[in-house]
């Protein structure tokens, strides 16, 4: 085996971009909470940006390598050390057999992403390697990692060309207050004028209730016209659901496919990188943007990914 898990951390799961094509059958998408950081980690290693990685939450695992391979670590800073020495983030790092990666504790953000050159040797379930723990599918045996688990690389590459080029500046910057861009809808017409004003004026605090399914916020009550219940419709990643109590919940990777609460707005794809790094106590402020703005931002992200891939693949 390539990696042995000595201790698993709080919640370490295998994730890729998610399981698409089965939402109509009630199968949640799952996938990385911060897809941007996941893609960067893969790109640094010449992987497909959607290759499966380890998503490491708050308290990281202890992993010992039996096989040499390049890895890249991105996302929140969980204070990783390689054989006791600080491990560089946002760059390709060669790990030799016998070396150990440990995480000493959270410095900032919430989730780190650890990618492996050539990916992990795990089966695709419904087209994806993402772990969806509730239905026990995907990833490593459909669950988070446990002590004693062993993971294998699929196509390890300890001779990755131009390793010195494979570095970018840390990309996640912790802030006192996060500005999160949203697009209004689909049920913005279920809220009063005052309710909408409240939502965009007030600062909300992330509660202790934040996981892969959703992120519950506390703050000023958002006023509905006629309560927060609707006849169920579909839920997108980043949907800001407001039940009758008036406190928003941002729906995340493991959200159910459908739901019966009003959704005032939806976080734009480019800001999932913030959403995936939120933890209890963080402050957020919502800013309305147009669909055109959001889709332009998304295309800029893709150009950035392509630039990195092109730069690392040219002779």
């Amino acid at each position: 085996m390539s990696i042995r898990v000595l201790s698993p951390g709080v919640q370490t799961t295998v994730q890729d971009l998610g399981r698409f094509g089965y939402q109509q059958f009630g199968v949640p998408v799952a996938g990385a909470m911060d897809p941007h950081s996941m893609k960067l980690a893969n790109l640094l290693l010449g992987n497909d940006p959607g290759e499966a990685v380890l998503e490491i939450t708050v308290m990281g695992p202890q992993l010992v390598f039996d096989e040499a391979n390049y890895v890249a670590l991105t996302g929140g800073d969980l204070n990783a050390v390689l054989d006791g020495k600080p491990m560089p983030r946002y760059q390709a790092v060669l790990v030799e057999p016998g070396q150990t990666i440990r995480f000493l504790g959270l410095k900032n953000g919430c989730r780190a992403y650890l990618a492996f050159a050539g990916g992990l040797d795990l089966p695709l379930v419904m087209g994806s390697r993402s772990t969806y723990m509730k239905a026990k599918i995907g990833g490593y045996k459909g669950r988070k990692l446990e002590a004693g688990d062993e993971l294998a690389f699929r196509a390890p590459n300890p001779k990755l060309p131009f390793p010195e080029r494979r570095v970018i500046g840390p990309d996640f910057v912790p802030q006192k207050q996060y500005e999160i861009a949203v697009i209004l809808g689909p049920q913005d017409d279920c809220f009063t004028e005052e309710g909408l004003n409240t939502f965009f004026r007030e600062v909300y605090t992330v509660t202790a209730d934040f996981d892969r399914m959703g992120c519950r916020l506390d703050g000023a009550v958002i006023e509905h016209k006629n309560g927060g219940d609707i006849i169920s419709d579909g839920i997108a990643f980043g949907a800001v659901q407001v039940p009758s109590a008036g406190k928003p919940i941002i729906m995340a990777a493991d959200r159910q496919t459908t739901g019966g609460y009003t959704k005032i707005a939806n976080v734009i794809s480019s800001d999932f990188r913030i959403l995936g790094q939120l933890k209890g106590g963080d402050k957020v402020h919502f800013v309305p943007v147009s669909i055109e703005y959001a889709q332009n931002a998304m295309m800029l992200d893709r150009q950035y990914y392509k630039m990195i891939a092109d730069f690392l693949s040219c002779e």
Binding site: F25, M126, I231, S232, T258, E292
Partner: protein, 243 residues
């Protein structure tokens, strides 16, 4: 389809909303539109998700932007009259009612003031419309159960209900697709796996189809179970008669 609305659900999906109620007419519109959309094969559409009220359309903005997609989706609405929609299939689901498989059948009978045989007869005579799937992989929201056998949920939910269990909760009926906790009154069990992540078709039912339960004996149940486990069982279906 006069009152159809296009709603924004973020930057990679939109919702085509056909109404704000739970009824067969809206469901039929959604199914018809979904079939029309699949036939149109618009590049950039990733997947669609039918619900009680809408069809959610997921797309890749690198291939098609919102305004261009909306235009195509609107045009498709106007062409609906010319598109032939095949009748819905009715999935025939074998169920072993009562006994160990349906421990709450006596309670449902008593609550309804009917014999167990009558409960089975009523439950297995209707064709239930699959409004949508959700909640867990493969869970169907069915409509059309007779009010005569409506029974409230258990006061104390069970910790583990085996996959395949058929239950009643209020005026709803349905099948548990995976082992899970739950409070439905269990009246029987089907040997058919509604959900199997390793199967080529992981989930059998689709929104817009119908389900009909038919009672089987223990021997029939065991025989079907063997076929299911061998991967050779094929669910019987028939076409829904036009209403």
């Amino acid at each position: 389809m006069e009152n159809v609305r296009f709603l924004l659900t973020g930057d990679t999906s939109l919702s085509v909303e056909f109404g704000n109620a739970i009824n067969e007419a809206i469901n039929h519109d959604i199914r018809a539109y979904k079939i029309a959309l699949e036939n149109a094969a618009i590049p950039g559409i990733v997947e669609t998700v039918p619900t009680y009220r809408s069809l959610m359309v997921h797309y890749d903005p690198a291939v098609i932007r919102y305004s261009a997609l909306k235009e195509k989706l609107e045009a498709l609405l106007h062409e609906m009259g010319e598109i032939e929609i095949p009748p819905s299939p009715v999935l025939e689901i074998p169920v072993l009612y009562g006994g160990e498989m349906g421990p709450d059948l006596p309670f449902v009978a008593e609550h309804s003031g009917l014999s167990e045989e009558e409960v089975i007869r009523i439950h297995s005579s209707a064709e239930y419309l699959i409004y949508m799937l959700g909640f867990t992989p493969g869970f169907t929201y069915l409509g059309g159960m007779s009010a005569k056998i409506a029974t409230p949920r258990l006061k104390q939910p069970r910790v583990k209900i085996p996959a395949g269990s058929v239950g009643i909760a209020g005026t709803q009926t349905g099948i548990y697709p995976i082992d899970s906790p739950g409070g439905w009154q269990l009246i029987g069990r089907t040997p058919v796996k509604m959900y199997d992540p390793g199967r080529e078709t992981p989930i059998l039912p689709e929104a817009g189809q119908y389900m009909k339960f038919y009672p089987v004996t223990q021997e029939e149940y065991d025989a079907i179970l063997k076929e299911v486990e061998a991967g050779t069982y094929v669910l019987k279906t028939h076409a829904k008669e036009e209403v």
